[in-house]
Symmetry: C2
Subunit: 124 residues, 2 copies
Amino acid sequence: MNYSRQREIILNTLKQNVVHPTAEYLYDVLKKENPSISLATLYRNLNQLAENGIIKKIDGLESSSHYDHNTHDHYHFICDKCKKVFDISADVAPDLVKKAQEETGFTIMGSDIVFHGICKNCNK
Amino acid sequence: MNYSRQREIILNTLKQNVVHPTAEYLYDVLKKENPSISLATLYRNLNQLAENGIIKKIDGLESSSHYDHNTHDHYHFICDKCKKVFDISADVAPDLVKKAQEETGFTIMGSDIVFHGICKNCNK
DNA sequence: ACTAAAATGAGAATAGTTATCAACTTTAGG
DNA sequence: CCTAAAGTTGATAACTATTCTCATTTTAGT
């Protein structure tokens, strides 16, 4: 993977983002500072960054993928009402991967763990 | 939800299926016995059955959704090589939802828990 | 600076799924 | 058992998210 200005911008934008944005959301943000950036470039780079373990692609949330600059082991929660995505600490299930591996005998390389329901704020 | 012959056929076909099929796979199977069934009818009914908790839609596996007639609490593993989907018992993380709920204070209505890696067979 | 490999932007193409709509079924009430 | 309202169907158009193509530009090593 060579250096590329666009990839740097994309990664920085994702890092500065508190939410877990979709490509569409990122594209809107990126275009403000870099009107010439192409959607294909964005997708290409998000995929490359994810393949290299620099970011994480989160599937299973909605019809579109979300992206996370936090690659530490943790889970996600999406509110069915406001669609906001929250982090859940991996502490709620220590050794989950290890145990799953022991039970199945499979080599587990990754996981997508997504909860959904109603967040505190929407519950009021 | 009224009775419909097509829905019954779709549900039965899913129940008889040991794998966790995609809509495409189900459609191919269904057409053999019911050549006139429409793809739209299949998707409509899978969504309705899932909304009513009769089946479960599994997202986060591949670009397309898979469907599961087993609605008991359990997780999934997809082999990155052969793309087969396996069940993992929820016993590997007892009270996972309860703990996540305690930690976050959110009302958790469901979860999608997907592991991926290499299955026993492909590991040989 | 020169070259090969990698990356870009623009837009076309693809895949999976949902929407539309006229015709047909199902259901509940009289 | 008839009817009207509500629900469902098949066919196909439309949509959305993402990937592909390709000519041009950028990067990295010599």
